[in-house]
């Protein structure tokens, strides 16, 4: 995963911008490849309980680790991480759900509490386009 992030930083300005913006936030993001993901999900963001003052996010992604799609997928999820970082009221599951009920839209799977945002979708597209040069 470190190679994925490094490659994103080197090849995509949008990706690099997201990482730098998160570095300036109170959010710590861990990214892992998640073979544990349900088959219908390629990426997700989870909020974990943390010590006072710092918020911890966990991104799980699945896919080929060396592909452009993986970097774009991580970029998409980093955009979600930034959405949380920019929303200081989000400190627990209730706050996270409220945020995405406000700024997101339910996904087409119809599953409970699964959301996406146009901004994250656009970010994924931008990163992928930048990777292609």
């Amino acid at each position: 995963m470190a190679d994925v992030i490094t490659s994103g930083l080197r090849r995509s300005g949008t990706f690099a911008h997201l990482v730098l913006a998160l570095n300036r936030s109170d959010v710590i993001v861990y990214i892992e490849t998640g073979r544990v993901l349900p088959s219908t999900i390629v990426g997700r963001l989870l909020l974990a309980a943390g010590p006072q003052g710092t918020r911890y996010l966990r991104i799980q992604v699945s896919g080929h680790p060396k592909s452009n799609d993986m970097i774009a997928l991580v970029g998409h999820e980093l955009r979600h991480a930034l959405e949380v970082a920019e929303s200081p009221e989000v400190r627990d599951e209730t706050g996270l759900i409220a945020l995405y009920q406000r700024i997101g839209h339910p996904t087409s799977t119809g599953a409970m509490h699964q959301y996406d945002t146009l901004a994250a979708q656009d970010t994924g597209r931008r990163v992928k386009a930048e990777l292609k040069g």
Binding site: M1, L9, G13, I28, E32, T33, L73, T107, H113
Partner: protein, 54 residues
Amino acid sequence: MRVLSGVLACALILVVTRPANSASEFAAMTEAEARAVMDAADRHVRAAERRWPT
């Protein structure tokens, strides 16, 4: 690290669609800059090289 195995919240599903404009308003990093970001002790985006319990 233990905190990360705690409360799970909601899942966000990605929809990967076709690429759009390739122009970026932000600059990508050089190899050295990317390494510096990845090696910084206080970095906020971190690779988890092992699978967390769910």
